[in-house]
């Protein structure tokens, strides 16, 4: 068959255990790119999130320009899913080209901005989670 030129040709794949009601994960920790390279912007396509043990809320949050920490003030929500225990969510951040999900949202990276996965729940009981994030670099 012909060579593939997929739009979203890079992915993060990882798992973890959240032990609080509000945890932040730098996706670069999972073998991906972090910070977002200087002068570049991430183009996000699809996300798969799994909540193994308890209901979880997953948020995809890039830093705003000039910031690098995983906090509400320093990031902007760009993807969101509530996932029941034992289930998955196939998140579509592209929607056949109708949605342009970028990170950082307002421009290219200055070399410090990261992409964060925020994991929330209603309890402090330990809960395993898994994810894949498909993206590209513009």
């Amino acid at each position: 068959m012909a060579d593939m030129n997929p739009l979203f040709n890079i992915f993060y794949s990882g798992s973890g255990v959240t032990t609080t009601k509000d945890d932040w994960y730098d996706l670069g920790y999972y073998g991906g790119i972090s910070p977002i390279p200087t002068g570049r912007q991430m183009f996000l396509g699809y996300v798969v999130t799994i909540a193994e043990d308890k209901n979880l809320i997953f948020e995809i949050r890039p830093n705003i320009i000039g910031q690098s920490t995983g906090t509400i003030a320093n990031t902007i929500l760009r993807g969101y899913a509530a996932v029941q225990s034992g289930l998955s969510d196939p998140g579509d951040l592209y929607n056949n080209g109708y949605v342009n999900t970028l990170a950082p949202i307002t421009g290219v990276s200055t070399g410090v901005e990261k992409l964060w996965l925020r994991v929330r729940s209603g309890s402090n009981v330990a809960g395993a989670f898994d994810f894949m994030v498909y993206y590209n670099l513009l």
Binding site: M4, N9, Y46, V48, I50, E52, G86, S88, M132, Y134
Partner: protein
Amino acid sequence: MAIFNLNISGPPPGSLTVGASLWIDLGLITSGKDFFIGNGKWTSPDKTIIFSLRTNNLTKSAGTTTDTTQISTYSVAAGKSYLQDLYKSGRIHTATVKSTGVEHWWLLLTSKSSTAGSFMYNINYCLE
């Protein structure tokens, strides 16, 4: 003409169950080629199971987390099926490594329960 002209499915009814985890060897990747995966249909009749496709890393052949890389994952609740689109109209490239002649691809099943549970899988793919 269909892109994904090859198929692998299993297990034969009643022949396998999964406890806490099970590695299924989907076979040797054709030397000099990689397998390009279109979709996977995952069924877990008895309990919640996570279905993960994994490819051996270059020159490796064992079904272990160290020697493989995950290329897809999905959790399916008891009594449910899910058809996972791993192609997305050509927007993503879900593929194994290009084989040197020793690498396999694997289906890793995991569950929070060690109670035996049946399962089914059906994968459409092609040689690239």
